[in-house]
Amino acid sequence: MNLTIHVWRQKSREAKGGFVAYKAENISPDASFLEMLDVVNESLIEKGEESIHFEHDCREGICGSCGMMINGVAHGSRGKAMATCQLHMRHFKEGDEVWVEPWRARAFPIIKDLIVDRSGLDTIIQAGGFISVNTGSAPEANMIPIPKPVQELSMDAAACIQCGACVAQCPNGAAQLFTSAKVSHLGLLPQGQPERYERVVRMVEVMEEMFGSCTMFGECEAVCPKAISIDFIARMNRDFIAAKFKSQKEISVGV
């Protein structure tokens, strides 16, 4: 198939960017969107033009490296959970015009073309997205049984790939879905209880310093490649409020 792609090109963070149109020719419908970009890049290099820079690695929807706005939609498909690398060209039509842009968010400055700096998400994890257990100090794994539904729900949240699509799609550039996924993954498990309330407060505070605020548009959920539910945001908010209105001691002893 043949398409026209309009790609955002920007040489560096400071440089001015703009759309450039390219022909994507003889593309197999079985190719992925990134493989289509590979084909375009090969032809660009042959013509002496620098390739379109974009991030990618696993190409199977798990590493979270890839991500771009395709026709205004993060990862290019609303409602069908997938990362850009999992989007296949069979979802497009012959002659389509496709607009390709980097994640647009204040917290994600552009590095080059479609590559942005998402390190703010790691900073949120550093604020408390872990269980403090040093290597070697763990008890026997089966000592604490975990009800299967609890483990399943925790896993639903833990499936987040930290791609940043939620932030990019949000009109406010908020990182609530991402943060709530980590808060819920750990907060649901018995192992995560000791730090549960301290964790949520620390993570939310750091998140709010860097990212926009959530007004529950729900756009994030629609584009999340792992279909992470917006219910986790409600769960995070409940924990946050609980933590704010009670002292750590009160919560811990359950009064």
């Binding site: 042959e46 199977e60 979270g64 590095i111 080059k112 550093q126 403090s132």
Partner: protein, 637 residues
């Protein structure tokens, strides 16, 4: 050069205790005075960097990814082994050890493998404590599944995302140390050289991928956890950026490279569908718990799978290996699949595919159970191929997946260059000539959490007061070499893209150094690789500048190193005149087509020393002594 494995004396089961007891210790208050560079933050590097930070060392951790959580380990699907014996099915540390040694076709070090089996149980404890949401039974205890090459259920899993969840455990521990200031993270930094000072590894040269700047970093020791090199084949199941540069550069600085020809071709991958294809997708081995593999009995059968009656199907693994059936080890299953396709019985448009059929399992267990077990894998298959595996069998074909070879290390995971440690897939240590499923995650984490953080103290204790700084001339010399390579790549100004060369190289390796090898083909491949490599340096076209983000340049450097490695792989495959595990030499096979080892002549680790670009590498042999297991011909019949 003598390669001393430093395996502790005494009975197998006491060796690790003995080693720990004999290690020199670093005084806790002195630990922060030691700088350790860890390159890589996959399961191995991430676990090591976090644990070293917890111990109080001053760690600098480098990755080429934008975040440590993106390491290729994230893509592991199926699971991780551990000798917990929760199923009460007769498992034990000894059995896990034995299965792994046998699975590796008796080409791994006994002591290392035994330690791995011992530590496997601690890994599960650690991961659960970190919040890894492993699958559970209704009673709340941990669930297990089976993997290839074994007859017990010892594989722990988190849906089809086990690697992701284990890596997140290590990543979270690492982020905690970053917040505490014991680890400094350098994302988007690619190591391009190792710096050796007075014979000891004392630093690295990196290129900052966001700015293009070349930088020097000094430390008291260097740890490489930089993953495997299956991308030498271009098409593989590895992530696109996985490469050999870190270990290859260390090899050129003196570290011997062990068993480079031992590569694993995984039987269950989605077949290639066109020239545009950039990588191959693995369908987890766990699918073979419930899927049955077959092809039509007769050649050129073009009927759809459902039109072929039971009596005209050949369930070839069940037929040839009745006691292990569809769960025969990878090397054996891959070769059997290739064989039926070579006979003209392969399926799909290319004829390079076999069916992996779930119809029986669905009718026996019901669709919901299958969905629960493999839902995300089925969906992945459906997305890629536009075929619904609940309705028609999957089509699969072998693909390069894992590399057992890597830098040589002793029992303490130190290479022959003092101060240079190598962990995870980057070393050669535990899998012999074939790795069993679900044991790479185990090895990476055993190395990273439990072995390296203790064994490295033994070296560091002797380095007190011997700090070097990056102002030493060795750093300037290595920097100049890195910059020279960069300018040669940019300056070639040829006509062909990096990818086109990489594809061609991969094709040569797949044809002559892939699933089957022979002397003539390997000699031919060496000539072809060398010619192509010369052409590469003349004709490659890399646009852009060095001092900016430049993805073509990044790739160009990695492919340049793949060329050199490819030659060594062929040479290693050529010298090993036997078949063992994933290394199958057609000249050496039994009457029924199985691998034929030659224990008298080849029961050794082949460790290659770099002697210069123009001269042949020198072979060193580390003999493998088996005190505990009796060498036998592997049988899965």
């Amino acid at each position: 050069m003598e390669l001393n494995s430093k395996t502790p004396p005494g009975p197998l089961a006491n060796k690790w205790e003995k080693a720990k007891a004999s290690y020199k210790l670093v005084n806790p208050s002195n630990k922060r005075k030691y700088d350790i560079i860890v390159v890589g933050a996959g399961l191995a590097g991430g676990a090591a960097a976090a644990t070293l930070g917890e111990l109080g060392y001053n760690v600098k951790c480098f990755v080429y990814h934008d975040s440590p959580r993106r390491a290729h380990s994230i893509a592991a699907q199926g699971g991780i082994n551990a000798a917990k014996n929760y199923r009460n099915d007769g498992d034990s540390i000894y059995r896990l050890f034995y299965d792994t040694i046998k699975g590796g076709d008796y080409r791994a070090r006994e002591a290392n493998v035994y330690r791995l089996a011992e530590l496997s149980v601690d890994i599960i404890d650690q991961a659960v404590a970190q919040g890894v949401p492993f699958a559970r039974e209704y009673g709340g205890s941990l669930d297990n599944r089976s993997f290839g090459g074994v007859q017990v259920s010892r594989t722990f899993y988190a849906r089809g995302q086990t690697g992701q969840q284990l890596l997140l455990g290590a990543f979270q521990a690492l982020e905690r140390q970053i917040a505490l200031g014991s680890v400094k993270m350098y994302p988007r930094h690619e190591m391009l050289d190792l710096v050796v000072v007075d014979g000891h590894a004392k630093g690295i040269i990196t290129r900052n991928l966001a700015t293009g700047r070349v930088e020097s970093h000094a430390a008291d020791a260097v740890v490489l956890g930089t993953g495997g090199y299956a991308n030498v084949f271009y098409l593989s199941t590895n992530a696109k950026a996985s490469n050999t540069t870190a270990i290859w550069r260390a090899h050129r600085r003196g570290a011997t490279f062990a068993n480079p020809c031992y590569t694993q071709i995984h039987p269950t991958c989605i077949p290639q569908s066109g020239d545009f294809q950039s990588k191959l997708t693995l369908m987890s081995e766990s699918l073979r718990n419930d899927g049955r593999i077959w092809v039509p009995k007769s050649k050129g059968d073009t009927r759809g799978p459902k039109q072929i009656p039971e009596s005209e199907r050949d369930y070839f693994l069940e037929r040839k290996y009745p006691s292990f059936g569809n769960l025969a080890p990878r090397d054996i299953a891959s070769r059997a699949s290739k064989e039926v396709c070579d006979e003209g019985r392969g399926v799909g448009a290319s004829g390079r595919g076999v069916y992996l059929d779930f119809a029986d399992a669905i009718s026996r267990l019901g669709r919901p159970t299958i969905e629960e077990r493999y839902g995300n894998l089925f969906e992945m298959y459906h997305d890629i191929t536009a075929e619904d595996p609940y309705e028609i069998p999957m089509r699969i074909y072998p693909a390069p997946h894992y590399t057992m070879g890597g830098l040589w290390v002793d029992y303490n995971l130190m290479s022959n260059v003092p101060g240079l440690y190598v962990i995870g897939e980057a070393n050669f240590s535990d899998h012999g000539a074939n790795r069993l499923g679900a044991s790479a995650l185990m090895q990476g984490l055993a190395d990273g959490y439990f072995v390296l953080p203790v064994s490295i103290g033994d070296y560091l204790a002797g380095q007190f007061g011997k700090k070097v700084d990056a102002g030493r001339p060795e750093f300037a010399a290595a920097t100049a070499e890195v910059q020279d390579r960069v300018s040669r790549l940019l300056g070639a100004k040829g006509t062909r893209t990096v990818d086109s060369f990489h594809r061609e190289l991969g094709g040569i390796m797949w044809d002559y150094c892939g699933m089957e090898r022979d002397a003539e083909g390997l000699r031919k491949a060496r000539t072809m690789v060398r010619e192509l490599r010369e052409k590469y340096w003349r004709e490659v076209k890399v646009l852009g500048e060095g001092e900016e983000p430049n993805q073509s340049l990044e790739k160009a450097g990695r492919v340049a190193d793949f060329f050199e490695l490819a030659d060594l792989m062929c040479l290693d495959a050529l010298q090993r005149e036997e078949s063992a595990g994933g290394h199958f030499r057609t000249e050496y096979q039994t009457a029924d087509g199985e691998a034929q080892r030659d224990d008298d002549k080849f029961r050794y680790v082949a460790a290659w020393e770099f002697t210069g670009e123009k001269s042949e590498p020198r072979l060193h042999k580390e003999p493998l002594e088996y005190e505990e297991v009796k060498l036998a011909t592997r049988s899965y019949k």
